[in-house]
């Protein structure tokens, strides 16, 4: 005694060899589909980004393309000018460089001069006391002597 299922499957058992071949081919297709699906997803994402970026390009840049081209040319000229100028400046700076020993000597000299200014030596003459203006003169003469001093 068989169930209808058992009977139906038994009747088509002979087709199993052909079905196995079909299965193997379908598995290859499935693997191929899976291998392709990842780049397709990436491509779709990239296409979406490009589509979004295309909107401002179409609306803003393309209608005034001559103006934008002119501006771009000016920017390129400025950039080239800046680059060449910077190269020349670097050359000059490279030429005028001094050795570290010279710098150290100059620094020491500067320190020495500064020390002399800030801390005068004992051999220097003492500061003169402020001159006292005699009080026994008339007031008008006192002012003249003050101005002369």
């Amino acid at each position: 005694m068989k169930t209808p299922r058992e009977l139906l499957l038994a009747r088509h058992q002979a087709a199993n060899a052909k079905l196995d071949r079909i299965r193997r081919a379908a598995i290859r297709v499935a693997a191929d589909v899976n291998r392709r699906s990842a780049p397709v997803r990436e491509f779709t994402f990239a296409a979406t980004i490009l589509r979004v970026l295309a909107i401002p390009f179409r609306e803003l840049i393309w209608p005034c393309r001559r103006t934008w081209t002119g501006l771009a040319a000016v920017w390129v000229a400025i950039l080239v000018f800046n680059l060449t100028h910077a190269e020349r400046g670097q050359t000059i700076a490279a030429k005028s460089t001094t050795s570290p020993s010279e710098i150290r000597l100059a620094l020491l000299e500067q320190q020495r001069v500064l020390a002399e200014i800030l801390d005068p030596s004992p051999s220097a003459s003492p500061a003169e006391p402020p001159r006292r203006i005699p009080l026994n003169r008339p007031r008008s003469e006192r002012r003249v002597s003050l101005l002369c001093a």
């Binding site: 169930t3 209808p4 299922r5 139906l8 087709a15 199993n16 299965r23 379908a26 297709v29």
Partner: protein
């Protein structure tokens, strides 16, 4: 005894991730029942093999669209069923699967394993099955081969639940009558 394990764990998720072993398990599980179903509808070997192949390839391409992994079997049979309909359209024949049947009062929810066929009756059973109108035959085959639920059969064949109940009811009735006629 019914051998079908309808709610078995199938590696659908793994197949979706692109594992060839998972595809092998899935296709191996369904290749013969699917072929049996298609053959009993189409009644020709080479077109049946072509339909099974096309079904497998379509499944490999569109598995990402399957929402419920537990429905893989009915989804696969649904693809095959559509291919059968396309086959009839291409060959210029009428679409017997789309024929409209009167709604029955209610279908019998009999277990397909309840119907047991003796060895000497096997040929008669198959002959009787082939004499049924294709819509009833399709519903009965889905019921017999994979023990699909009424809802699943409705989904596969693209008809309402009531129509499926009707087809199963009248299909079984007609099948019993044909077998009884032959035995008397």
């Amino acid at each position: 005894m019914l051998v079908v394990a309808e709610r078995e764990q199938l590696p659908v998720q793994e197949a979706r991730a692109g594992e060839p072993e998972a595809w092998d398990v899935l296709f191996k599980r369904y290749q013969l029942p699917l072929y049996a179903y298609v053959f009993e509808l189409v009644r020709a070997e080479q077109p049946s093999l072509d339909i099974v192949q096309e079904t497998f390839i379509a499944a490999a391409r569109h598995l990402a669209g399957l929402r419920d992994d537990d429905r893989f079997g009915s989804w696969l049979f649904g693809i095959a069923h559509q291919k059968c309909v396309q086959h009839w359209r291409k060959s210029g024949r009428e679409e017997p699967l789309d024929a409209d049947f009167a709604e029955a009062l209610s279908g019998s929810g009999d277990d397909p394993s309840e119907l047991l066929i003796r060895e000497e009756q096997e040929a008669e059973f198959m002959e009787a099955l082939n004499q049924l109108p294709p819509p009833q035959r399709a519903a009965l085959l889905l019921h017999f081969v994979e023990d699909f639920s009424l809802e699943e059969i409705a989904g596969i064949t693209g008809v309402s639940l009531g129509t499926v109940k009707s087809r199963l009811h009248y299909g079984k009735k007609a099948l019993r009558e044909l077998l009884e006629e032959r035995n008397t």
